[in-house]
């Protein structure tokens, strides 16, 4: 609890709450659409080896996670160091051992984790039907279709989350993001299906 409060305090003094939220949605959306694209790709290719499909999707999910962690860490570390330098110049003092110094070191790590975990966790959630089917669980839908349904639901909820942040209708925002997913699916069918 104390760690969570400290994280909130550091995000607050660096005014990075909104950056964290943005990364969560943007990269979460990336993860969901990538999995959706992969699964539809396998569907139009009529691939039936679930083991290969799971491995390919897992590979993409891990790569998305690693890309999210590393890119956000490098860019945020540079941003925080720059901001700390500017503040040190204004205060005419060394702030490395203060909350601002701690924030300059900790906030990039926190943002990187969120940026990497968002697509990884969302991808893994989408893969649950495939993993369940692979261990012999009978699903009401074929596993690839069930994964598409999970992806669409998660994308809808990302839209609902965005709607709640911006104060617009959650339903409208959810449908808008779902529409993006449907257009993506249509494009994949159009280009990969033929």
């Amino acid at each position: 609890m104390k760690l969570l409060e400290q994280a909130k305090f550091l995000l607050n003094i660096t005014r990075t709450n909104d950056i964290l939220r943005r990364y969560l949605v943007v990269n979460g959306f990336d993860g969901a659409l990538t999995m959706l694209g992969l699964i539809i790709g396998f569907l139009v290719s009529q691939a039936d080896d679930l083991h290969i499909i799971i491995n390919a999707c897992l590979g993409a999910a891990i790569a998305l996670g690693m890309s999210g962690v590393s890119s956000a860490y490098i860019s945020e570390l540079a941003e925080r160091r720059r901001a700390l330098g500017k503040l040190e110049a204004a205060m005419i003092s060394d702030l490395k051992d203060t909350a601002h110094g701690e924030a300059a070191r900790g906030v990039p790590l926190l943002i990187a984790l969120v940026n990497g975990l968002a697509p990884l966790v969302i991808s893994l959630l989408i893969l649950i039907p495939l993993l369940l089917s692979n261990v012999g669980v009978i699903l009401p839908l074929p596993p690839l279709y069930a994964a598409i349904v999970v992806a669409l639901i998660l994308i809808f909820f990302l839209g609902v989350f965005l709607g709640r942040i911006s104060g617009v209708s959650w339903l409208r925002s959810g449908i808008q993001t779902m529409l993006v997913a449907v257009i993506t699916a249509a494009l994949i069918y159009l280009f990969a299906g033929n």
Partner: protein, 89 residues
Amino acid sequence: MVLVKRVVLDVLKPHQPNALEFTRAIAEVGSDYRVRLTVLEVDENTETIQVVVESEAIDFPAVESTIGNMGASLHSIDEVEVQSEPEAS
């Protein structure tokens, strides 16, 4: 024993943590701290503030350390009120 009852401090601090978080952190130093903050001047990245701390016994080094931990620097002690108390035998 001499107890510090009240201090008025002139402090330069970054805009963040804000006035509320800043005073709260100082108040958390003790159990009966009363803290009042007045913003005297605002610049692009910093603000000059006056902080009044009152308590039955102010732990001044702890207050100073809390101010420093938040990235602020103590410029001067403008007022002090202390009281001596008989040593407990």
